[in-house]
């Protein structure tokens, strides 16, 4: 292992310990690690955005003599300049235009995608014969169809949750909570694997206690 490699491992190990020390309490070591992390990452993203957007997506395309769509990046450039107008009081209102463009364009682009994945596919998959197959199949089908229906009732905002409607909504929130419980356990396990990765680094790469 060369000097810089050893130096890198020590630095990474100390920064890891610094961040983990937050579990005990806020301390100077954590503050130093936090400042390093925030400062370096902010600088990294600033440079990444500059080279990826201003240089690669704008400058290279605009300056390419063979480029067929060399005028398109100018739209983004002008919208970017409009964002900066908020620095001047008199024309600051112009900065709302690019925001409106971004929000409107994104909503339009994703509308159909979300409508298909979050609505159409879900409804189609919920139309099942509930009393078909084995006992396990019947339970599964009832959970899928009934759970989706009751979940929809819970998210229906035009009617108070009272009476039968309220009962269905309660079943809906129970289904949601059961799903959250399963999801919680699953995600915690994946986070444990992240922690094991860090411990593996500390005890293996750094302290050499495990091979």
């Amino acid at each position: 292992m060369g000097f810089w490699e050893i130096f890198g491992v020590w630095l990474a190990a100390l920064l890891t310990l610094g961040i983990i020390s937050f579990l005990y309490r806020d301390n100077a070591f954590y503050k130093a690690c936090e400042a390093i992390f925030v400062g370096i990452s902010a600088g990294y993203w600033a440079i990444t955005y500059f080279w990826d957007n201003l240089y690669r997506k704008f400058y290279l395309q605009v300056s390419d003599p063979a480029g067929t769509e060399k005028y398109v990046p100018w739209i983004g450039f002008v919208l970017g300049i409009l964002m900066l107008t908020r620095l001047f009081k008199k024309i600051g209102w112009l900065s709302r235009w690019p925001l409106a463009f971004i929000i409107g364009a994104t909503a339009g682009l994703y509308m159909m995608t979300y409508f298909v994945s979050n609505a159409m596919v879900q409804i189609s998959a919920s139309i099942l014969p509930v009393f078909e197959g084995s006992f396990g199949d019947i339970i599964t089908n009832l959970l899928v169809s009934g759970g989706t229906f009751c979940g929809l009732v819970y998210f229906f905002f035009s009617k108070e949750h009272k009476g039968v409607f309220g009962g269905a909504a309660r079943v809906g929130i129970w289904v949601l909570m059961l799903t959250f419980g399963a999801s919680f356990g699953y995600t915690v396990m994946s986070r444990m694997s992240l922690m094991l990765g860090r411990l593996d680094f500390l005890f293996g790469d750094w302290l050499k206690l495990i091979k």
Partner: protein, 411 residues
């Protein structure tokens, strides 16, 4: 004693056995050939028949679909080893793809729209290939309307129509009923607590940009929170991870302060950019929490792996916490660690409820119409499918099929 020579008869079995050796050897060779499939010359198999090349429907001239009837010799252990697709733009055919045994369709994507192509399919076998007939020329074209998506269009039009109807309705000043959402009632309570304790409020709008509808909903709720904050002169602290979110949040809080008649109390430092890096941002927000000890924490927007870190830190300082996100994987953490959680669409409903804007209220009501359609479709579809399963009649079979087709999207 004189030695006796063995009689000739004694050699007969040995001679017989020796004479069998070449036979056994040849049989073994022949058998090994059969097993390895080498050096066997099959007669040419029958070629693929009925080759059809058609323009792929509902695309922008990107694909030609070829189909054929398998060679009659395409059987397990038969001579056919696969198929090869040939394409000709002029006279000479070039190989496009080699496909495994039993395949009878192929989509050619390496084409130029509008150029006529002819195709032929070869059945490959050990001794070579047998070619099919050549298809007539076919070219790929663009279809402006995808009729496969007609159902999506009709349902989308219906829901959008309902949204527009209710927005118009709300703009005319008609009252639209939206039921109360439990988490919303807690907002005033949470701000009141911060006022009593004289401690700041922390507002985290998630880590996505302004192109995420969850961030927009979070910022809308921020507008309402900022109005109360301005009225009670509480400190609000909002670290953000996106520059556009910073700009929008500052605008929103500024407007709230102007609306409350206290423009001088507004300060740009209420909203601070930290970093775009997810965990760098989390480290900074955690630091803010333990140092400033806000009385109330709002987490409203799009969250990812940082959700539990933030909510647990907020919990450790004893803050009242209100969260809201439409990220299914993060909701369990907020539900477990926060006092109130706006689940999924409740976040958007809360945004509409608080803003009282005709557009948001009308949109929410229109979406409720969509949900009603979904509920009705599930009930009708499930009943029809179940009765069809019990043999209640062809009507229910057809109804079940219709309901499935209505909500199935084919590209």
């Amino acid at each position: 004693m004189r030695s006796r020579r063995p009689p000739i008869a004694a050699f007969v079995p040995s001679l017989f056995f020796l004479s069998l050796i070449p036979f056994i050897f040849l049989t073994a060779v022949a058998q090994s050939d059969l097993e390895t499939g080498e050096n066997i010359a099959f007669a040419p198999p029958e070629p693929p028949t009925g080759v059809i090349a058609l323009d792929h429907v509902y695309d922008c001239g990107e694909m030609i679909d070829i189909s054929w009837t398998l060679s009659a010799a395409d059987t397990a252990g038969g001579p056919v080893t696969g198929y090869e697709i040939f394409r000709a733009e002029a006279d000479s055919f070039v190989s496009v793809s080699v496909l495994p045994l039993g395949t009878n369709t192929y989509s050619d994507e390496k084409i130029i729209a509008g150029t006529p192509y002819r195709y032929r399919v070869a059945a490959l076998y050990t001794g070579g290939a047998v070619l099919s007939e050549i298809t007539p020329p076919v070219s790929a074209g663009t279809e402006i309307i995808n009729w496969n998506l007609l159902n999506l269009f009709v349902i989308g039009l219906f829901v959008c129509g309902a949204v527009i109807y209710y927005i118009t309705h709300a703009k005319r000043g008609k009252k639209l009923f939206i039921r109360k959402i439990a988490g919303l009632e807690a907002i005033d309570e949470a701000i009141g607590r911060a006022t009593e304790m004289g401690r700041p409020i922390l507002f985290v709008p998630g880590i996505n940009d302004m192109d995420d509808v969850q961030t927009i909903a979070g910022i809308t709720i921020l507008g309402k929170v900022a109005q109360v904050v301005a009225a009670y002169d509480i400190k609000i602290n909002m670290p953000v991870s996106r520059s556009l979110v910073m700009t929008t949040a500052r605008e929103t809080i500024k407007e709230a302060y102007i609306g409350a008649g206290r423009p001088d109390a507004y300060n740009d430092d209420m909203v601070r950019y930290v970093t775009d890096e997810q965990f760098g941002y989390v480290a900074a927000v955690d630091g803010v929490m333990v140092r400033e000890k806000p009385a109330t924490c709002f987490y409203l927007g799009a969250f990812f792996a940082e959700s539990l870190i933030l909510a647990e830190t907020g919990n450790s300082i004893g803050a009242i916490q209100i969260a809201g996100t439409a990220q299914p994987a993060q909701l369990p953490f907020f539900v477990a660690a926060c006092d109130y959680t706006l689940i999924g669409e409740e976040l958007f409903a809360a945004s509409a409820y608080l803003s009282n804007e005709p557009k948001q209220l009308g949109s929410l009501k229109g979406q409720d119409v969509g949900k009603f359609v979904a509920m009705a479709a599930i009930i009708i579809g499930v009943i029809a499918a179940t009765l069809a399963e019990f043999g209640a009649g062809s009507f229910f079979v057809e109804l079940s099929d219709i309901m499935h087709k209505l909500f199935t999207v084919e590209n």
